[in-house]
């Protein structure tokens, strides 16, 4: 048994069976030899590898899907081979948008979702390398109970911008900055994405599509301030610093 997956041996028969989909396809705007930022080295590992390491510590996750663009196939295979070869990662080629990439991953998992072999699907942004196994476990439990959940951080500094460009001075109450992984029961999520494909609907994130097509409750759960998204150069340094302080082990 692989060290990263030791926890599996004690899995109860009623434990949900989950699949982790980690997105690394991006917008598809890059050209040439420029790889997606999820393949940048960060503290000795590619950014996307950190997420797989976190997911592999959660015993209910049985499938691991990496969604990439075709141009990154070689570096993705090399990353799996060198850094996460103890995790059975399946590589799926995504689409031009995040929504299309999610659909590609769900169609890849469709037989197991429809047969009931998979109960839960987590969709995670590969550019968030610092997700903790503890948060993932909490989200899976909530998704089993309610249907869908997304983590986020409450923010109290959002103000409304009117269409004419003027600001509303009043603070907007209880706004959430969404994070990932967003976690759902598998079949409703697949059906939502197939319905969206039929309608030509493109959601901004997984939760948006789920909410558009499903009646199941979508819960919010407090996220983790460390679970940052690599967007600006400074985020790379911040992530490296957080990893160093955590002794390279986010729990």
């Amino acid at each position: 048994m692989h060290p990263a997956r030791d926890g599996r041996s004690g899995r109860s028969p009623r434990c949900p069976r989950a699949a982790a989909v980690i997105l690394g396809a991006g917008s598809g705007s890059r050209i040439g030899s420029v790889h997606n930022k999820v393949f940048l080295p960060l503290a000795g590992r590619r950014v996307i590898s950190w997420s797989f390491r976190a997911m592999a510590q959660v015993s209910s996750i049985e499938r691991f899907v990496m969604v990439i663009r075709d141009a990154d196939r070689a570096i993705a295979e090399q990353t799996v081979d060198r850094e996460i070869d103890d995790i059975p990662v399946e590589i799926v080629i995504g689409g031009a948008s995040r929504h299309e990439s999610e659909l590609a991953a769900l169609r890849h998992l469709e037989p197991e979702i429809r047969s009931g072999a998979l109960d839960i699907v987590l969709v995670h942004d590969g550019a968030r390398p610092l997700v903790s196994p503890a948060l993932i476990r909490q989200l899976i439990d909530i998704a089993v109970a309610h249907g869908g959940v997304f983590p986020g951080l409450e923010t109290d500094d959002i103000r409304y911008l009117h269409p004419d460009g003027s600001l509303d001075a009043a603070l907007v109450p209880r706004m959430i900055r969404a994070q990932t992984p967003q976690v759902f029961r598998g079949l409703p999520l697949l059906e939502a994405y197939e319905a969206a494909a039929g309608d030509g609907f493109v959601g901004t994130d997984t939760a948006a599509c789920f909410q558009q097509y499903r009646q199941e409750s979508l819960q919010y759960h407090p996220g983790d301030a460390r679970n940052i998204k690599i967007t600006y150069p400074d985020d790379l340094f911040t992530a490296e610093e957080i990893l160093r302080h955590a002794k390279f082990r986010i729990t």
């Binding site: 890059r30 420029v34 940048l40 080295p41 600006y232 150069p233 400074d234």
Partner: protein
């Protein structure tokens, strides 16, 4: 990882959009990120860079045998054919890393970063 510079696309605060950027490393430590469109360079202010690099280097040496055995087991033919070249390049790589660390430490000391 045997490259000291990687290119990717990140948001640039000066350009206000996603641009191609060059990320420089000394070993596993990130040194700087430079926008290839406007030249804006982001550094981390780290006065302990030489010490951090030395600690990282020690850790790399300690884990090297395990990593070599791992690669030998998984891809024996590729490992054996690339090993001589890798052994030859390793000192050059380390000297280059140390030069980068020294240069960055000097710039930090002079307040240029």
């Amino acid at each position: 990882m045997d490259r000291e510079v990687e290119r990717t696309e990140l948001m640039c605060t000066t350009c206000g959009m996603a641009t191609e950027q060059e990320v420089s490393y000394a070993g596993r430590l990130m040194i700087s990120v430079r926008c290839l469109t406007c030249g804006t360079e982001v550094h981390v202010h780290r006065d302990t860079l030489p010490d951090d690099y030395a600690a990282d280097l020690r850790q790399r040496f300690v884990s090297k045998p395990r990593r070599l055995v791992h690669r030998l087991r998984r891809h024996p033919r590729e490992f054996l054919t690339t090993l001589p070249g890798a052994v030859f390049r390793q000192p050059i790589k380390l000297v280059s890393e140390w030069r980068t660390v020294r240069r960055e430490a000097r710039r930090e000391k002079r307040g240029e970063l």
